[in-house]
């Protein structure tokens, strides 16, 4: 009985979810614009950067999982103007470093070349560059770990645990 009632409820709720009513998104509609933060060229460089931070192996990397767009969306909607400007500035300086050192765009640089450029940025004495790298890395990790692919296939997120056990041995 209990299970039947629950499943009935779930089914109804699933149906309701397909389209959010206007009042449910009323908070963001009036305040958020749909435009992207970075132009296409810079977006491509950012996508290359997140893929370098978490690359494709036998499972998809951050680039393939769309984490570059997630980073942009977060910075655009949840961070101040200064941070937004620094994101664009950071992408530009990554590109100019790549041109200077390797004579090609970051997007075209080799895997190790990209890592080298990013490591230099991580260690940079310029606080803006350091902040840029830290921000993108943190958001990349957040976007990757909370992506559908990772939560479904790798970390096995449970929407409905239906239990709490207070003391269980750790499985190593």
């Amino acid at each position: 009985m209990e299970r039947r009632v629950a499943l009935k409820g779930m089914a109804a709720a699933m149906g309701a979810m397909a389209v959010l009513p206007a009042w449910a998104s009323g908070w963001s509609k009036e305040t958020l614009t749909k435009r992207a933060l970075l132009p296409a060229e810079q977006s491509k460089i950012l996508a290359g950067m997140v893929e370098s931070i978490i690359p494709k192996t036998d499972t998809p990397g951050a680039g393939e999982l769309g984490v570059g767009d997630f980073v942009q969306k977060m910075v655009k909607d949840c961070y101040d103007k200064k941070t937004q400007d620094n994101l664009a500035k950071g992408v530009d300086s990554l590109e100019s470093q790549s041109m200077k050192i390797f004579g090609k765009s970051f997007a075209d640089a080799g895997k190790d070349q990209k890592i080298q450029l990013l490591q230099e940025m991580e260690k940079s004495s310029d606080p803006d560059q350091k902040a840029f790298f830290g921000l993108v890395k943190n958001l990349t990790i957040q976007g990757y770990m909370s992506s559908e692919y990772v939560m479904t296939n790798l970390t096995h997120y449970e929407m409905i645990p239906a239990r709490y056990h207070g003391c269980v041995p750790i499985k190593q």
Partner: protein, 570 residues
Amino acid sequence: MANFNIDSKKARTYDAIVIGSGISGGWSAKELTERGLKTLVLERGRDVQHITDYPTTNMMPWEFEHRERMPLAITEANPIVSRCYNFKESSAHFFVKDNEHPYVQEKPFDWIRGYQVGGKSLLWARQTQRWSKYDFEGPARDKFAVEWPIGYDDIAPWYSHVEKFAGITGNKDGLDTLPDGEFMTPHDLNCVEKYFKEQVSKQYKDRHMIIGRAAHITDPQQIHLDQGRAKCQNRTMCERGCPFGGYFSSNASTIPWAMKTGNMTLRPHSVVHSVIYDEKKQKVTGVRVIDANTKEMMEFYANIIFVNAAALNTNLILMNSISSRFPNGLGNDSGVLGKYVAFHNYRASISGEYEGFLDSTTDGRRPNSGYIPRFRNVYKQETDFLRGYAAGFGADRRTSTDRSGMGESLKSNLLKTNYGNWSVGSHMMGETIPKESNYVALDKDLKDAYGIPQLKISVGYDDNDEKMVKDYIEQVTEMFTNAGFKNIRANDGNRAPGNDIHEMGGVRMGKDPKTSMLNKWNQLHAAKNVFVTDGACMTSTSTQNPSLSYMAFSARAVDHAVKEMKAKNL
């Protein structure tokens, strides 16, 4: 035309009107309709139907485009509601925007509101601890506010009544300071919480740590299945609305139950302007409502009015109900309306770590936590401040990942869980002393979008609160230290009153009409067919999360009202 008016008036006449559909209004509606009264329930916000109007309830974490974080433009435009712990992408639609219903802060006060059918019952923390006799006896013993007109024995059967229906999980702990109720299977305490419980009992004869009593169904009874509710599935995303009805809300429980009787008319988008006092009949006859969509003012009539608009809005409505008989607000012969407002002091918290049970962790999720009932000044006055505090307590196995570097090593490290120490934490829930100087009033000039005066809130901490924060930090630090916890850190969060969402009083109960608004049945002394059973009625606050008491007051008051009506006294 005359006939039309009579018919129209008849169509707008009910046996009872309930203002508000939150925790207390839902209960008033259920109890009134079950007793056969044709009842109009007025709700200022939109309708929220159980399940179908929980748009985020089954969304996966990755479906929230900002992963539950609120965009900067929203938090900057809404600093008040953004400070609420429960305000996030999945629940924002159940909160009131700062500019939607403005108010005047004479002192910083975070007024957190939910304007929809169900009110804040969709958003509450679901903790349901009973008051004990020591709580009701507080004001009389310690000589503050006024004496409660009722004691524990008056309310105990009504606690049982509402607990059985709402569904409460808890353990029968046998404490006189926190009476047992009608409990279903308790949630587990985890290893470190059990350890702390033993340590506390060993070291203090009058202190205890127990699993919280909470409005979650852990062992469904027929009465819950009859409501269409099922066992709590431990999702711990209650603030989205629960498709299982696993926790108690008006939406899952009392409102559909009242609807099923066929006696309830639910009218959303109905902003109550005032309660009507008929000077000729010398009694309250109904309610003035502004339709939120059309802005049209209309009147509804009934023999009995329950004001359950949530504590401060109930104050506002009564203050805005002016007549020649009541020039200072309905029932306000005493002049205490709006005064003696109090809240719970949630300012301080303490965290630490425990290095034991390192081979163990928890499994699943728990919509509940540990609870330390008040131990200060319970049996006698023993400190330099009045009353005391309860405290939350919880432990969790801390995990971390190695986030250094980048590339393939980072990627594989992110998927490895490293277990650290257990983290432990506690937060205080302090009783505050109602004072005349902590008040709400109508602003003389400012009006809201409906032309109703804005509420001016002047509520702050006092010296008693400061001393209590200090004592909580000292005592719980000592309890943590004695239990062998390390890295103990106390935090005085500087939280404004209101952020606890436990504002109470302003329409207090009392024995004497000269010093109180309501009698022992929650009736206005001076207008006996008006009942107030939400947080506004509270004479003092004690330390327990108050909703369970509002439910019990509502059910008890309806029972009395209907008996009085049948005896032709109302």
